[in-house]
Subunit: 423 residues, 2 copies
């Protein structure tokens, strides 16, 4: 099965190619097999990209997909109050079907806004995987690990069951995910570190989301967060650290030379009053990717929206408009995300041999024209311009319409009924 | 001619009413004549707002509508470099038809994104007014005043011609707009202050956009910006001050009790590396409204997008998620904008006797559901949800389609050709 995306303006995100090329993309089954000007070979399906932007699907490097119910529900709560008073009481009542439908909503939102891969951490994972498989979204997935009521081992067992069941899946890969230092303990983190090493999986964890967390960790461990990272062994794992709103010099120096990726979650960090992560300071020490967090604190999973604010925030924070370019932001949401997830050989850029995770955008409207500086415009104005989303060579969205056998209106009704019952 | 907006969820923005009401809005010609549950009187046109959000049109309190050409063209330039190297060289070549088409694009962008009034400052104003009248957008308009090559009086004459021609217009009202202190001088500012007093018009001016501006003003005037405000008499005018990125205690104290409105332009201020205005500190001293600035620094005129970041920025800046609510942000973009423009008797909220500047939004989609907390969701996720826009009782957008006799595709072609020639 050969598909060709023809006549597009292609933003490759490849360090081996031009930033913008007018090339045709030839896809065989799940893979990009050729990138060529004016392809005139055979094909089974033609995707006309004339006057469209074509680029790799976006990679959302920190999500809780099951939380689709909580969209824009934090008006005025701190991280700790929001979790304790709003989220956790509802989550305690959630059943596995709730998580299935929440994940389903999130996956459709991602497909419609051009995200083809997410890095997810939540619970009731079997039913969440059902939603992922139904929507065919690529995912670095896991069962979130915590050890609050001595139930940590049970969670690890659940994770292992899940891992063994799906470890050979094409679209679902795994991380080991201790939730955060404030929901675990040193012995448990050591177990997680060893488990990730044994299975050769990355570790995905919340780290230094706000200042209070730093104090909480010091109380629990009688150590600094960095000392916990070192003592648990985690610092030597392939680490994906979500948030990192406050990394001091000591942390940054310790990260140097390690296999550590930071997931910047700007909207969530602002919304919960955590602060603004100074990623300009971080970028020489670790790979910087981009995440939305859940809709609860991130308001939505639209990576184009979240991208739009990244360079602006740094420019405001540093009172300097030259500190971060739009192209660097686009890298965070594509190839850097792929690196974070350990998938840079297969996704994150448009290159021969990589998986065909590709999106197409139409910027030809009164709201987005003129687009003289394509990349700047794409990063800052393309909130609703994804026309086509392809994952693993399969078209899931075409002319803005989902090609999946899911009734959106019914799903919305189900979601609204379920959150009413849970609230 | 009676129109009724029926069965909507109405966000009134009126201090005399509930925040959210299920009421029908009865409109006669240009005015709201009744707000009533289950209206069963006569009407000529019914607008079914079932399952929709209805609210006052947004007020963009600082624009340069003619700059539609410059969308998202500042990737990495400071305010001064951007003006000197990118904007001014092109503006020098612009003719009045360029300004007409740029304004036309901006007006269509506003109508499509729910803005019904703008506070504009630019040049070639006769042709800009042609675009405003063609698109029927409400505007506090002006010819921008500066005195760079001893041409200040000529500009005032042009302003007066314009004012006298249109002073009785229904939709176009006027401000007196000295561009900024760094493009004028003390005598000229005194003239502007007097002119505004004589004509009973507000003054619209850029003020303290970045730190360098403060130093530049001190060099030109041998006074602080605040001293210039006082010495010129402007501080006693009805003042609309755009930006105010840095207002110290002295400025704030001097503003107290005066008729001063600040226009917060968060995206523009970030984009140009100016910084983050601490509006939490300001709000006890002046009325705070919201502006996009031009598409050049604001990236777009979509007030829903600009709103989405206002409370988040303050929450990040103050590391406190309780400092500003979504409802306060909505006020900035509606009733506070009306106050800034001296129009709070006629627009900015849905109240009996006010002009029918009303928009309707559809939040029933996978990207915006569930919407449990309607106002939080509206402020943070409604980038592309305006279904209907009505200005002065006339529907200009219906089911997302413009009802104006303007061919959008042709306009886009014209815009692209013109900016190519100018660049």
């Amino acid at each position: 099965m050969i598909k060709v995306i023809k006549n597009g303006t292609v933003i490759t995100m490849s360090s081996n190619r031009e930033k913008i090329e007018n090339i045709d993309i030839v896809i065989e089954n799940d893979k990009i097999i050729d990138l060529v000007k004016d392809y005139n070979g055979e094909y089974d399906e033609l995707i006309d990209a004339t006057d469209k932007i074509v680029m790799p699907g976006l990679i959302n490097a920190h999500t809780h997909l099951g939380m689709g119910y909580f969209r824009a529900t934090n008006d005025n709560l701190s991280l700790q109050d929001w979790l304790n008073k709003k989220i956790w009481p509802i989550e305690d009542k959630m059943n596995e079907d709730d998580v299935y439908y929440g994940t389903l909503l999130s996956c459709l939102e991602m497909i419609k806004t051009g995200t083809t891969t997410s890095n997810d951490m939540y619970f009731f994972s079997d039913r969440a995987i059902d939603a992922l498989k139904e929507t065919k979204v690529r995912c670095l997935f896991t069962r979130c690990l915590a050890d609050i009521n001595n139930d940590g081992d049970k969670r690890i067992d659940e994770f292992l069951d899940l891992y063994n069941k799906y470890k050979n899946d094409e679209l679902i890969k795994f991380s080991v995910a201790p939730h955060a230092m404030y929901t675990t303990n040193l012995e448990y983190l050591k177990k997680c570190s060893k488990l990730a090493n044994d299975l050769n999986l990355p570790v995905h964890m919340h780290y230094l989301e706000n200042r209070k967390e730093i104090e909480d960790i010091k109380k629990i461990y009688n150590m600094t967060p960095l000392e916990v990272l070192k003592e648990s062994g985690l610092i030597n794992n392939k680490l994906i650290l979500a948030h990192c709103t406050f990394l001091d010099e000591e942390n940054l120096e310790a990260f140097k030379g390690k296999d550590i990726s930071i997931v910047h979650n700007p909207i969530s960090n602002l919304n919960l009053g955590c602060g603004i992560a100074d990623i300009i300071k971080y970028k020489d020490y670790a790979n910087i990717s981009l995440g939305t967090d859940s809709q609860g604190s991130g308001n939505n999973l639209n990576m184009f929206y979240h991208m739009s604010i990244v360079d602006l925030l740094q420019q405001g924070l540093h009172e300097n408009s030259t500190v971060l370019s739009s192209y660097e932001v686009l890298k965070m949401a594509t190839i850097n995300g792929a690196k974070a997830l350990g998938m840079s050989d297969t996704i994150g850029s448009i290159e021969i041999g990589k998986k065909a995770d590709i999106i197409m955008l139409n910027l030809n409207s009164i709201l987005t024209e003129p687009h003289i500086d394509i990349i700047t415009n794409l990063v800052h104005n393309a909130f609703n311009n994804v026309d086509m989303t392809m994952i693993n060579g399969e078209i899931l969205l075409k002319n803005k319409k989902l090609l999946l056998n899911i009734n959106e209106k019914d799903l919305i009704k189900i979601i609204n009924n379920r959150i009413k019952k849970l609230s």
